[in-house]
Symmetry: C2
Subunit: 259 residues, 2 copies
Amino acid sequence: MAFDLQLGSAFPALRVREREVRGEGRPATKTRILIATENLFVNLGYDATSLRAITTEAGVNLAAVNYHFGSKEELFALVLTQRLDVLNLERVRLLDALESPSGKGFDSAHRVEQLIAVMFLPALRLARDSERGGPSFLRFLGRAYADPSPFVRNLLAERYAAQNARFVQAFARALPDLDAQDLSMRLHFMLDAISSTLASEDARKLMAALIASAHTAKERPDEDVAVLGHLAPFLAGSLRARADQPPQLKAIRAVVALL
Amino acid sequence: MAFDLQLGSAFPALRVREREVRGEGRPATKTRILIATENLFVNLGYDATSLRAITTEAGVNLAAVNYHFGSKEELFALVLTQRLDVLNLERVRLLDALESPSGKGFDSAHRVEQLIAVMFLPALRLARDSERGGPSFLRFLGRAYADPSPFVRNLLAERYAAQNARFVQAFARALPDLDAQDLSMRLHFMLDAISSTLASEDARKLMAALIASAHTAKERPDEDVAVLGHLAPFLAGSLRARADQPPQLKAIRAVVALL
DNA sequence: GCAAAATCAGAACAGTTGTTTGAATCGTTT
DNA sequence: AAACGATTCAAACAACTGTTCTGATTTTGC
């Protein structure tokens, strides 16, 4: 698999091994390192994934990482953007389609659910596309957005700032009654929750169980619709909830009085 | 400040320095280490907080941690349980009060909001109690529950398993229509979201801004009620949302069709 | 004030991390 | 077949981690 390079390039430095192009022998070290890095990152995160663990898993020499990628940070930057660029591309493409003037599929009453679907449908699709994502793609996604390392956080924040802003704007239009601060906090909540849930093993098992129960209830429904049918109302409910409603405030004051 | 020990204990090994008890001189090394550990943990988490950083910040010798606490893990176990034990004690006490047969403050229509208030009111109170918590208590809480280190995760999971189970049961009674799996997932969501939000600096600024705006809107309201008035409906909305509603499914299918 | 216990301090330990070196090897081209 | 650049390899590097060992110092109880 060629990554940042085209085959037969005129630049010697960017040429892949002929043997690998012809599909002979084992994959070149560069590829094996990238695969090993992704596998280990999914389970351990950035900090806890050492170069020695990577090179051992890949069956290559320790110095290979620095030789091929320059540094640990450059290696991870490639692995992360590799995956997340295609995800974000799909996301904005789908958002464009939803916002297109042709108005196909527009549903103003459930706009929030649709925006949530736009955010997560591409990820669900990639998880079943073994070429561009694969079964562990959702865990990868969760790890990436939940990783505590400043390097990973800065990379994601800077590289995808524009796309994130577009979604914040879209949600703001769909929820005109919510002031900007409150919306920002709730979206923050939502993304944090999704990320750590995707990253955690037992939470994903729960989601899988939910999908399975949806399958038995209806006859062969679309799997993505089943997942989003659970996820979207849940998240939309939190985004749409009205704050400072008198009866709720009264119930809360009753608890405060207990203390 | 005496931690795991009473003054004048009969056990020589558990005796604090007389000078500190009389308030003379600077705090004993043990105390300074505990304070430094808490400060650094709040900003960096368990893994990234080295013993050298702790002892430098505390102005004590490197070997002091192992001498006084045995190991890094034992030190952090003390720091964590120190704070979280009192929090969880307050929590179950408040839950007992809400569930008491006397029925004071009972509100079946807003039971979910009340349970959320029970979960977070003690934390808000401790954040304003400089003795047992302090201004950075919420950040501490967020860090603790969001920390990726297996040591911290296991410690919290094992030590507070019983209390957590009680809250899950209480939520299950308040939401009888939600099956156990779905409830478990949603609570997982909720806690993950709260934790990472409390831990993140900018998200807490948002919350502070919300409190401030609530102050201007009403006349000197109780600060805790203001926070919970925003938080509880938001979280309750996500817990109560109904999945698989036909009109929402239709809106989602429209998005799937766009792809 | 004395002896014993508790505390502190410096240095070093064994382990890990990411990175670099220089020589050996491989693959391709001429 | 020879030459050349690209790649692999073992080894070592410097910086860091938690921990432990010495001896000196201070504090405490009698």
